[in-house]
Amino acid sequence: MITAQRKPMEEIFQSVERFGKILLLGCNECVTVCHAGGRKEVAMLASALRMGRLKQGSPLAVDELTLERQCDPEYAEELALAIDKYDAVCSMACGCGVQTIAGRYQGLPVLPMVNTTFMGASERQGVWAERCAGCGDCVLGLTGGICPVARCSKRLFNGPCGGSSKGKCEISPEVDCAWQLIWDRLKQLGQTELYTRIMEPKDWRTARDGGPRRIVREDMAI
C-alpha cells in the first residue's frame, strides 16, 4: 500500500490560515489502512483545526467527508454539487488523490494534509516499512524476494557494501541490511548461485528516470 503521515500541525494551520470554510477530505483506501487519512483521522484533524482556530479568534468551518477512493475520477465526482461552498479542499489522501481532486476542481485550492511517504507493508501494529520503489522491472525473483532497490540504502545490485554489520545497514542500527536478508533467504532456498552472477546495470527508464509513467490498457478501454 501507499503509506503517508499527517503533516505537522504547525504547517497545516499555516496552510489554511487564509480560509474560513474548508472541506477536509479523507480516503478510504491506503491512507485509511495506515491510519493517516481515513474517516477517523479526518474527524481528529477536523476537531483540532476547529479548536485551534477558535482559540486564535478566527473560527474555521470544517466539513468532513471521506471518499471511497480519492484517486478515482468517478468518486471525485461526488463533490461536484457541494464544492462551491468551500474556500479550499484539504485532502488527507496520498499525492495521487490530491492531484485527482485538484485536476477535477481546477478553480479551487486543494491542499495536502499528509506527506505521502512510500510503498510499504505493515511489519507489526503501528509500524510500516518501505518494500517497493516501483522501479517498473521487478527483480524479486533473483533476490530471494527482498528488494535491493527499495531496501538497500545504496540500491546495490551485487551484494552488501563494506558497511554491513551484524545484519544492519551502515546508516542506522534500525535498518536491516537488505543484502544480509537476501543472502539468508537465498541460502534457505538453495539458490546461492544466483548471488554469484553479476547483475548488470539497471535500465532505469522503467523507473521515474524515463519520465512520468503511464499504463495504457487498450483491452480495458471502454
Binding site: K154, F157, T196, I198
Partner: protein, 307 residues
C-alpha cells in the same frame, strides 16, 4: 601491460607494492595538496586520491589526481557511485585517461547521511561492481556501457575495494570473486587489525584462485591515539578492531601512543608479508601524510622500485 600505470608495473615485476592516500582539501587550495603530496613522493607506488570521502564535499578527485601527477606521483583516482550517474562517470573516465591518469579505484561510496550534505540525492545509478565492469569494457572493448563505440578508448589499471570485516563474512570472498570477474586488476582492503579474520578471508580468496587473477593490497592504518583506536573499534561501520589492539595503544601514556601505533603497524606489515596472496600494502595514514616517510622506512618498505 594494459595501462601505463606504475602500480601495474610494480606488481607485475613481483614487488611488494605500497600505496598511500591523500584526501583532497575542502576548498580551492592547491598548497595543502602539494604539501601532503610532497611527503608521499618516492615513498609509495601510487597515491589514492579520495572522492568526497565520508560523503563530505572536497576538491574533485580527478583535479587533485592531475595536480599530484604533475608533481611526479602516480594518482590512484577514486570514483564513487554515490554522486554521479553513468554519463558523468564515463565522461570523467575519458577525461582522466586523456590527461594521463592511469590507475583508478571503483567504490560504492559512503552514504550521504554520514556527510556534510545529508540532503543530497543519493545517485547509485550503477553499483561498484557494475562500475568495474563498465571501466573494463571501456578500456578493453572500446565500448561505452550503452554498447556505443569509443573512438579512442581509455586505458586504466582498474582497482576495487574489499572489506573482509563487513558482514555477512561468508559473502566477502564471493563478492571479491564478482569484482575480479568484473575486471578488477587490483584490490585494496579495509584497514586490517583483526588478523584471524583477514587470514581466513585470504585463505578463501586463495582457494578460489582469486589471488592468481588479481593483486590484493592489504589495508593498514597507523593508530595515532587510544581515542582513534576506540573510534575505529566502535564507530566505523564494517571495521573490526580487537580489544587487545585498543588496549595495547591505550596502555601507553598519551605521548607514546602514536609511537606504539607505528610499532604495531610495522609488525602488521611483517605479518602481512607472510600471508599467501598479499601483494602489497595500502597505507592509509589519515591526515598523517607527514609521518609516511618515517612509517614506510621503519616498516622496511623502502626504497620503492623505479620502473
Amino acid at each position: 601491460m594494459k595501462s601505463d600505470s606504475n602500480l601495474e608495473r610494480v606488481l607485475a615485476a613481483g614487488h611488494f607494492a605500497v600505496t598511500g592516500e591523500l584526501g583532497p582539501p575542502r576548498g580551492a587550495n592547491l598548497e595543502t595538496i602539494k604539501e601532503k603530496a610532497a611527503h608521499l613522493k618516492g615513498m609509495v607506488d601510487a597515491v589514492n586520491v579520495t572522492d568526497n570521502q565520508t560523503a563530505v564535499v572536497r576538491m574533485a578527485s580527478w583535479a587533485v589526481s592531475l595536480v599530484i601527477k604533475e608533481m611526479g606521483l602516480e594518482p590512484n583516482y577514486q570514483m564513487v557511485c554515490r554522486d554521479r550517474n553513468r554519463l558523468a562517470m564515463q565522461s570523467d573516465i575519458l577525461g582522466a585517461s586523456a590527461l594521463g591518469i592511469t590507475t583508478m579505484l571503483c567504490l560504492s561510496g559512503d552514504h550521504p547521511s554520514f556527510g556534510d550534505h545529508p540532503q543530497a540525492a543519493n545517485v547509485h545509478d550503477i553499483d561498484s561492481i557494475q562500475l568495474i565492469k563498465m571501466v573494463s569494457t571501456m578500456c578493453e572493448q572500446g565500448r561505452f556501457l550503452s554498447g556505443g563505440e569509443i573512438d579512442t578508448p581509455p586505458h586504466m589499471f582498474v582497482g576495487a575495494a574489499a572489506n573482509p570485516f563487513g558482514d555477512p563474512f561468508e559473502l566477502r570472498a564471493l563478492r571479491l570473486a564478482k569484482k575480479v570477474a568484473a575486471g578488477a586488476d587490483f584490490i585494496q582492503t579495509q584497514c586490517i587489525y583483526d588478523f584471524p579474520r583477514f587470514t581466513e578471508f585470504m585463505r578463501q580468496a586463495h582457494d578460489m584462485g582469486l589471488t592468481e587473477k588479481t593483486k590484493i593490497l592489504a589495508g593498514v592504518t597507523p593508530l595515532k591515539s587510544a581515542g582513534m583506536a576506540r573510534y575505529m573499534a566502535n564507530k566505523v561501520p564494517g571495521m573490526s578492531v580487537p580489544a587487545e589492539v585498543v588496549k595495547r595503544i591505550a596502555d601507553q601514556p598519551k605521548d607514546k601512543q602514536a609511537e606504539e601505533g607505528i610499532k604495531l603497524l610495522c609488525e602488521q606489515v611483517e605479518q602481512l608479508k607472510t600471508i599467501p596472496g598479499v601483494a602489497g600494502v595500502h597505507l592509509m595514514a589519515i591526515e598523517w601524510e607527514h609521518r609516511v616517510p618515517e612509517i614506510v622506512e621503519r616498516a622496511g618498505l623502502l626504497p620503492r622500485p623505479q620502473l
